[in-house]
Symmetry: D2
């Protein structure tokens, strides 16, 4: 549905993702980059837990934000960078399982402002449950 | 201004904070717990960075969420736990500096639903700048 | 996909809608009520305009909120009422046209808290454009 | 605290407010315009009610959005217009009373993006209660 104007969009997304110290700290993996749609996964470990041994909401927010930001970046012209202006996230279920998967998708790509939605699923012994939902506003800026 | 109904509110907050694996992973510290107001600080390190070497927004979201959630918990009766229903955060400035400080405050404490606001400041060579603002909804549940 | 536990869900929604003075003031119409999905339409008039003669964002917010709240109510047991805890809305395009249509859908229905999404389309000379997107949190309460 | 760069900021705000059909429809009044801070009031009438005869949340959202948008506009250079990119609002109490008052304030004014906060109070027989809280993102555009 979406068309990338930057033929190197996937490389631009991967390069940015790989330069984020936090993603390595958390153990997040960029598993799919398509025009307007990016998937990030994160396996569970004690180091990303909250007080009940589930995934911490802040971790879910971080990968959802990234999945949406990179979905936005994938549709921007070469030489662009993406900033998160703001995001809003609902936690719909306890984030229990071995893996969380955030799928960010562009809802509306404007010249400077892009609106995204990100859905976060928890995978627990093979069962997949939607556990969080984000709506966010991204902004294009020129790479310095 | 606020009164805690649980005389052990500070201990309840600290115990919950200390059992979060993520806070240790990120290097976050609980620096102040008053009724309805909690402060969390996080020093910069490469392990919490985004692609430009600044604090990652997800990290800022995580400590802001916690500061607000624990501010809410501090006013709840003994035996309570707090869940984040949802939060919304604006990133107002590049999060540059040696330290970020999230101050969560209760705006309205209801029986089951509490609304909080969290302000995040970046401290860069002594200069303090408000870099993010959160508004969130917390829910009280009975401890299992 | 969704099943209504209240056989009279459509009547409950219509009765509540009809008792809202604001919907009559704005000229809004409840055009469809299915389990977990409600559609509200509003024709343009000068009385719902902003400074450029387009639909006012507050009007769009009001019908989106209602479409989502009533989608939530449609899945609640008889004797329930619905309260909006909070909503977040992005305005994605100038709201130009003869009609706006808000479609509210339940994303996750919990016992007390329901998360909804509402999409708002502007219909301009037959062309349909998605012009706003809402994500919101609703709460069930017992009818007094 | 804030300084207006446009000496005619108050006139610009009033002119825009007066050209909104919706504000007249609802009976809203612009009661104060200072640099970075705007107050709007709305008396109760059946025509702005929800199903229990209280103020409709959509009305509260509309005047809060306007108070924040005009607070943002008051700090912008002459020839600017303001667009609401998105807002998020929490309803904290039943909106009961004879009057609601929305006070919008600029939190951070950037070149193109401004973050605002709006507090909505309900005045009921002289008692003032904070009943809603908004956090929103506004954007400057050149007047056409």
């Amino acid at each position: 549905m979406n068309r990338a104007s930057n033929p190197d969009f996937a490389r631009a997304v991967r390069a940015s993702f790989d330069s984020q110290g936090l993603m390595a700290t958390l153990g997040a993996r960029l598993v799919s980059v398509e025009p307007g749609r990016v998937v990030i996964e994160l396996p569970f470990s004690q180091s990303v837990s909250q007080q009940h041994g589930l995934f911490h909401g802040g971790v879910i927010g971080a990968i959802a934000d990234n999945s949406g930001g990179y979905a936005a970046l994938s549709l921007m012209p070469a030489g662009s960078e993406v900033l998160t202006i703001e995001y809003k996230i609902n936690f719909m279920k306890p984030a229990r399982g071995q893996l969380v998967r955030a799928t960010g998708q562009v809802v509306r790509a404007g010249k400077s402002v892009t609106v995204i939605r990100a859905e976060v699923a928890c995978i627990d012994d093979g069962a997949v449950a939607e556990c969080a939902l984000m709506q966010a506003t991204m902004m294009r800026v020129d790479r310095r």
